[in-house]
């Protein structure tokens, strides 16, 4: 394998899915790439001045403007007659919530930009607060479980559907546990003459609280349980679904994570676990995940 475009020595936690995701994306994109990132763990851990882990040009401006900044970068590449890949890599907080206006503008203007969201399902950089991506029942520091609470009361926002509603020509979900699939999707997205969106399931060891070494295992269980179907849309049509041979029960996925431990302590939470299983079953049926 060639030298990675994300150098070692960054400050991310051991067992974090984010640097692995970046390396896979950059492997596929190659050196002729400019990366734009919103404020996140990514920025803080990879660019402590005067050091930088980035071996491609990289720019961070603010939390909520990566898509607008990337738009400016992209028009200037075109103006100069360059065919540089412009890739946004950002977390779910900036993608689902605070950057929504800017993302919507970029999608709608049709820039040739690949947006990769590494989705760890909460504001991890600030200490595990709920985001629009936080799943049903997950404990976060702003949706804590308690005597009157079973964690986050609402299901996760459907960001790929929002991208599809903008008629983004290539939309996909991916997982850090499926590197071949992720790299293929990145390569495909970069061929699209317009915006593309890939949402990558990226477990956070401190936010989800799991044992070191389980990061890939958890990401795989999310897919195998049906909670994180691997999908691919071209021009609004579902063209690719990663089949699951033998679906796992969601409990196998939930029980390994501290953010769901309240669901196994309280008797009344059996119903919550049932509701989460129903979400997975609905995905299995909707996307025909099992042959």
């Amino acid at each position: 394998m060639e030298k990675s475009l994300l150098a070692p020595g960054h400050r991310a936690c051991a067992g974090c899915a984010m640097p692995t995701t970046i390396r896979l994306v950059l492997d596929a994109a190659g050196p002729n790439t400019i990366v734009v990132s919103p404020t996140s763990c990514l920025e803080v851990t990879t660019t402590p001045f005067p050091e930088s882990a980035w071996c491609v040009p990289w720019i961070h401006s603010l939390f909520e403007n990566a898509a607008a900044v990337a738009s400016g970068v992209e028009v200037m590449q075109k103006r100069m007659g360059l065919d540089t890949n412009v890739v946004i890599i950002g977390g779910d907080g900036s993608t689902f919530d605070i950057g929504m206006g800017s993302n919507s503008g970029m999608f709608e203007r049709g820039h040739k930009i690949l947006y990769v969201c590494y989705d760890n399902e909460a504001y991890m950089n600030t200490g595990v607060q709920r985001s629009g991506s936080t799943p049903f029942c997950a404990h976060t520091t702003t949706t804590p479980s308690g005597s009157q609470s079973q964690g986050n009361a609402r299901p996760k926002k459907d960001m790929p559907a929002i991208a599809l509603a903008h008629k983004v020509p290539y939309v996909a979900t991916a997982s850090v546990a499926y590197p071949v699939d992720l790299r293929r999707k990145v390569k495909k997205a970069l061929q699209v003459n317009g915006p593309s969106y890939i949402q990558v399931n990226a477990p956070c060891i401190t936010g989800w609280t799991f044992e070191a070494g389980l990061m890939i295992e958890l990401a795989r269980l999310a897919v195998e349980s049906g909670l994180w179907p691997l999908l691919e849309y071209e021009n609004g049509e579902l063209v690719g679904v990663k089949k699951v041979r033998r679906p796992k029960l969601v409990e196998e996925y939930l029980k390994l994570q501290g953010r769901y431990k309240h669901l196994f302590k309280k008797a009344e939470c059996a119903d919550m676990r049932g509701q989460i299983q129903a979400m997975a079953d609905a995905n299995i049926a909707k996307y025909k995940l099992v042959d």
């Binding site: 002729n32 400019i34 660019t47 071996c55 401006s61 603010l62 400016g72 970068v73 103006r79 206006g101």
Partner: protein
């Protein structure tokens, strides 16, 4: 027709500024509609549509995104332009610090307007004065011609290798953006000679990968700010130098950092910024004919604040009255506070009184200027008040 007036046309202020922007040849323009700035970017859009201007024009979802687009384009090597006002400038606030912190030489016209609440679309300068600390240079212009000329000068100052700092060219909304007056439009070729192509020192380039917008901890953050501070102090000379170079090429000069009118022997000096200067000059002419030694000092560069130039220009005054269209609620107002601070450690001991006036578009008349001068006369004998709202309608309070 002489060569000097060959390009003289009666046009709307916004068109004149858009024409000046065209002569600056920006690669990327991004803006969002807001009154009274909109005519500037409408004109620019039309110029692009008609092939008169070869720029990428991005219509965006907000002013916040407009300036964010320019962060990306400027970092990619583009000469970049926007214009805004009031709420739009407020929405850009976070990006303003980012642009200056990354040393991106973006130029923006601010069509000064009041901020809500209550909603008000008319002119004052609370928007830009409130943004005095964001690290941008700020030039305030007196009339449309100066707005045109300052816009071209702005790129030359901002893009200078020693400065590399964004600039707001502040022009009073409606008063200057919507007025039709005779203006000498810039000659494209002369503008090209005056302002060559942008030569950025660092850009986003895969051949030479660089990291922009890194994370700085307490051991390095202060030095980033210090370098910005130093660049603004260097801009004191640069603004003056560019104004003189402009004079050589185009034959017009408005002062670099400051300008004055009837100030040399003046006992009472009015200090201000922006379009109210025209009214003040009329008032001064009338009062001079009555034998009153009144003069004007115009602050053209508010950031950097020209402390030495102001000390030198005002040292012989007997009393100073500052009039400005902004207020620092809970204190006084921007210009008067800065002026007092500029004098405190000098030997100059002149009474200074401040007035906030013209908020939310209320007219400032010759009569008002006379009233200020009367109050200044009184202040010579002893200050009764330091700061007041001029023409406050006490009957509706």
């Amino acid at each position: 027709m002489s060569e000097k007036t060959a390009n003289m046309k009666v046009v709307e202020g916004s068109y004149a500024v858009a024409h000046a922007v065209m002569c600056c040849r920006p690669d990327v323009i991004s803006a969002y509609p807001i009154t009274p700035q909109t005519h500037i970017v409408e004109n620019l859009s039309q110029m692009v549509a008609d092939g008169e201007l070869d720029s990428e024009f991005l219509t965006v979802d907000s002013e916040f995104s407009a300036l964010s687009v320019l962060v990306g384009s400027s970092a990619a090597g583009a000469r970049s332009y926007s214009s805004t006002t009031s709420q739009g400038l407020a929405l850009m606030y976070e990006v303003l610090y980012n642009v200056s912190g990354m040393r991106l030489p973006i130029v923006m016209n601010v069509a000064n307007r009041a901020l809500g609440a209550p909603l008000n679309i008319w002119n004052d300068q609370q928007d830009a004065i409130g943004a005095r600390d964001v690290g941008w240079l700020q030039i305030y212009v007196e009339d449309v011609q100066e707005a045109v000329d300052a816009t071209l000068q702005a790129y030359k100052i901002a893009e200078d290798a020693e400065i590399r700092t964004p600039i707001m060219v502040c022009m009073d909304g409606f008063v200057l953006t919507h007025v039709y007056e005779p203006v000498e439009l810039l000659d494209k070729e002369k503008a090209r000679e005056f302002l060559p192509a942008y030569q950025p020192a660092n850009i986003l380039d895969p051949a030479k990968p660089k990291t922009f917008g890194a994370f700085a901890d307490p051991s390095t953050y202060t030095e980033f700010r210090y370098q910005q501070f130093e660049a603004q102090l260097k801009a004191l000379d640069k603004i003056e130098k560019v104004a003189r170079e402009f004079e050589e090429t185009f034959g017009r000069y408005y002062g670099g950092l400051i300008d004055s009118y009837q100030a040399e022997d003046a006992e009472i000096v009015i200090v201000t910024l922006g379009s109210v200067i025209g009214t003040i000059k009329d008032a001064i002419d009338a009062m001079r004919s009555e034998g009153k030694k009144v003069g004007l000092l115009k602050v053209r560069s508010y950031r950097p604040f020209p402390v030495q130039a102001l000390r030198k220009a005002l040292k012989d005054a007997s009393v100073i009255a500052v009039i400005e269209k902004d207020v620092s609620i809970g204190s006084e107002a921007g210009l008067v506070t800065d002026l007092k601070a500029a004098f405190y450690n000098s030997n100059i001991r002149i009474p200074i009184i401040g007035f906030t006036a013209g908020l939310g578009g209320r007219d400032i008349t010759v009569k008002d200027i006379r009233k200020i001068v009367d109050k200044a006369e009184t202040a010579r004998k002893g200050i009764e008040f330091e700061f007041e709202f001029l023409n406050l309608r006490t009957e509706i309070l």
